[in-house]
Amino acid sequence: MAFRRSSTYITPLIFFLIVISFFPIALSPDQDFLRSLAPGVIWIAALLSSLLAIETIFSEDFRDGTLDEFFISNDPSFVLVFAKVLCHWLVTGFPILLASLISSLILYLPVSSLLPMICSLILGTFFMSLLGAIGAALSLGKSAILSAIIVLPFSIPTLLMGTAAVSSAIDYQDYSGFLLIMGAMLAIGVPGLCLLTVEAILLNYE
């Protein structure tokens, strides 16, 4: 259904590419300079882009009443929340992954760093979608910007690990440790954050 509303996936994608393209224009087109900035720029753009559509995870279902229906069905609410987050990531996170390949050309990122960049973005943007789900649940029926404000401070560890993994790859250093930490965060985040999101949604019925 999200694919029928093109703004859901096009807006974060366009936003990501515009932010990336601003850096060579505003700072310097120098290759070495842009390469040194690339990991941070790509990760900040990815985080902000993934937050753009975060409010839409539950808001429409809450407004039109389908969330009530899901919550009283016999299926575990945890599974529903996970399915919603997965769909959200496929619609917003996955296009950002593809766009990051284009951005690597704009920022002169070496080919050797593409694999860690993609791996860290997969782990990181999915974790951001999980975090975003809590923000979206807590801010249901309120301002869309509120969910982003709730989520952004908690995105700092993801930002640090993701940036460090890509920077290490650029410097030909071992980056696997950073990816493992991100994987561990995701492994804990899937059950933990989904359960917290269920509780956060139920607060809206009180």
């Binding site: 039109d64 009443g65 009530d68 919550f71 009283i72 016999n74 019925y205 009180e206």
Partner: protein, 203 residues
């Protein structure tokens, strides 16, 4: 026959307002309960409390299970329709019913016959192109997808013409005959045969 749901001494308050106090009733197979009250009297809250969407304040709810034992958790298939109808504008009438039945799965024939039963013949039209009354009819078609034990419906007769209201009464009677029970809310008593609970909390 044993009641499907027994509610005893149920109370609920929000902030400093006591919405309802010491409610006692039973939902028997094929029987209906109407919760009557003005705006803000706690009708929707009561439905949500009964369904477990809101924590129970004081009191007890006991649900009948398949082995004729009573449990404090919901052991009966229930259908809930709130003020919002649960209809997606981006989906067609047929797709909306398919989404509603995702967890129990019904045949396409059942979906189409349910839509035809409520007078929706343009199955592939998007809900966004339909009137509020037609959307309400789609939501009524969802009642027919499966034999639910208890239907909890918030103000089913609002925003409907006489023909649609008669259709609802007809469908409720049909489902009652199969043993289904309805707990519905409204501002005034409807035409269906029911036991009535009046919430007289002053807003």
């Amino acid at each position: 026959m044993l009641p499907k749901l027994k509610v005893s001494n149920l109370s609920c308050s929000r902030a400093d307002n006591q919405l309802f106090d010491d409610l006692n009733f039973e939902v028997h197979p094929g029987q209906n309960i109407e919760i009557i009250g003005s705006n803000g009297s706690g009708k929707t809250t009561l439905l949500r409390v009964l369904l477990g969407l809101i924590d129970i304040g004081d009191g007890e709810m006991e649900w009948l299970d398949n082995e004729n034992n009573y449990n404090n958790f919901r052991s009966i298939d229930c259908f809930y329709q709130g003020h919002s109808l649960g209809i997606k504008n981006l989906l067609s009438a047929q797709e909306n019913l398919r989404l509603s039945s995702y967890s129990f799965g019904v045949s396409e024939e059942k979906i189409l016959s349910s839509l035809n039963r409520v007078g929706i013949n343009n199955h592939s039209s998007f809900a966004s192109e339909m009137s509020v009354g037609q959307k309400k009819r789609i939501s009524i078609a969802r009642w027919l997808l499966k034999d639910f034990g208890i239907y909890f419906i918030d103000e089913p007769f609002s925003a409907l013409d006489d023909q649609a209201s008669s259709l609802i009464v007809e469908i409720i009677e049909e489902l009652n005959a199969k043993g289904a029970s309805f707990v519905i809310t409204g501002h005034r008593p409807s035409e269906i045969t029911s036991n009535q609970i009046t919430l007289d909390h002053e807003v």
